[in-house]
Symmetry: C2
Subunit: 337 residues, 2 copies
């Protein structure tokens, strides 16, 4: 039996789902994997830094006396040390432009030899290679399964189940908010009412531009290109168009013709580099992407050996995203033991 | 650098594709995985037993002096010893009723501590637990990724990328021959002409009954239930109906109505056991199974945490099946080192 002390950054929907899932799977982790765990640290902007090596319950924590607006690496490391952390889970929010402060969180943990598991795409998009190399140098692991398609295994699929393969490209639907908005527009709603429906479904943020303008999908494309295709890419290199300018009549007519609009994310190798894009496309009748509805996601990878491999997620929730982090945790500590 | 000696049973389409793929990936195996290999033994019914610890080329072997019709465990073990085998690849043909002689091949290898990798579903369906336990007792590995959906990772997906998950059930299209025949019938052909088209495409055997009567899919269902759902099941417990009795007019009318016939394989937990079936079903409009064409395959798994996870294969060939065996080989020896 191995015992691990866990620290958690962020306690929103995903952070809460993660703590509940860890508790629900406690017996299975012990019996099947020989893993015991204690949550010894929690840090959020509202709650500040909390630590207790004997274990703490994040659902009963009071608000902070010391605010934690922009914690620096030294403050995070002091907290990780005080909590005697073996593993850091990061559920902080994405800053697509810089990846911070999540990159600093990852660096703080890895420099101490603490495994770093994130659901935040920023560190992958802006610092994947540096963090990967830092982890290797410090004998720690850096994992991020939850960043694309939540708990559906993409990164671990290629890492463990598809050895000696070269990914030539991929094409899919990676953003569920736009998928839902397009479905609402097909059903007769305006763009604005579609956005409202997505917000009511708990999908879109108050500021929906990250989704509707294609940023969320673009960030996921950058993550897949860098990790699964092992090619460097910047967000600016990815052609990006959102669904804001589609007319509802166009959207309805396209669905009626059997060739609906979808926000399609794709990438392929070209001339020693990668051509990547996120844009609304009319998908052909019979294309599996045409039938991806609501909160589902689907991506097809083309490789040198397998001509096509599709992976789809049905019904993503905060709990499925939290599962991606739990799977990372089990894999990381199983590798270590 | 670790060096492995490999033995191969069967040298049909998959066996030949495997030897070509191993050769094509030789540099990548060496550089990325530190794996060198030599093929030191080949056994087929036509060629008999061949071995040469210095290495041999199966494409230039002459026919056997000693026939190898029904080799027993002792004969296979003598051959494996003479070839100094580390790993046995089995590409022999399925005997759905008994699983033999492939079970004997697996047992022969595992008893010697030789890793056993098979593309033959018989050993999974008829002897999964015994072979798994035997492998564990002898410190060897038993692997079978190629048995369902060829090189598309299913078993290794659950083994490595989906820890602490319980599979509640699955539903999908697992047999491509019937899928192709139904498409031909939808396009106006008779059942018999559809079978002929599948034979000309190299999919259906001269005796197509294993496919059209649902046996191939049933065997795959049994493999998935036993391994992925971890539940014992016998072939006779699986409700089975083929596509032989479907009228072409019915098939065409169903497609025209947008609810086409597919040979659907499914299983779900029920009352402490498993309810499993293979039968033609009209799938709903918008069901991703409706768009699975030709040689593609698609299966959706439902689990306790992830509500739905789909895995699809596009364009299966002997090379993609051989890739499943190569992936097993890399995983097995990476575990061992």
């Amino acid at each position: 039996m191995a015992h691990y002390t866990l620290c958690l950054i962020g306690f929103g929907n995903v952070g809460q789902a993660l703590v509940r899932l860890l508790a629900a799977k406690r017996g299975e982790l012990r019996d099947r994997y020989g893993i015991e765990w204690t949550l010894t640290g929690v840090m959020t902007r509202r709650l500040g830094f909390h630590h207790d090596p004997a274990g703490l319950d994040p659902f009963t924590l009071g608000a902070a006396t010391m605010p934690a607006q922009s914690p620096d690496v030294a403050a995070v490391q002091a907290w990780l040390r005080a909590a005697r952390a073996d593993v850091l889970f990061d559920t902080s929010s994405l800053n697509a432009e810089t990846g911070e402060p999540a990159i600093a969180y990852m660096r703080a943990a890895l420099e101490l030899g603490v495994h770093a598991i994130t659901a935040n795409k920023g560190p992958i998009v802006h610092a994947y290679r540096q963090l990967r190399d830092l982890a290797q140098a410090r004998g720690a692991q850096f994992r991020f399964e939850a960043t694309v398609m939540g708990g559906t295994p993409i990164f671990s699929l290629f890492r463990h189940a598809l050895p000696a393969i070269t990914v030539q490209g991929f094409r899919g639907i990676l953003n569920s908010t736009t998928n839902l908005i397009l479905a609402e527009m097909e059903a007769g709603k305006s763009f604005e009412d579609g956005v409202r429906a997505a917000q009511e479904a708990g999908l879109a943020e108050t500021d929906s531009s990250a989704d509707v303008d294609g940023w969320d999908a673009t960030v996921k494309v950058a993550a897949l290109v860098q990790v699964v295709m092992d090619m460097p890419i910047h967000l600016g290199d990815i052609e990006r168009a959102g669904i804001r300018d589609l007319h509802p009549e166009e959207v309805r007519a396209a669905r009626a013709a059997g060739t609906p609009y979808k926000l399609v994310s794709s990438a392929r190798r070209h001339d020693g580099g990668v051509l990547a894009s996120v844009r609304p496309e009319r998908v052909a009748a019979g294309d599996p992407l045409a039938e991806v509805r609501g909160v589902d996601a689907l991506v097809r990878f083309d490789t040198d050996v397998l001509s096509g491999l599709s992976v789809g997620e049905h019904g993503g929730t905060p709990t499925t995203t939290a599962y991606g982090m739990l799977a990372d945790f089990i894999e990381v500590v199983s590798t270590v033991r």
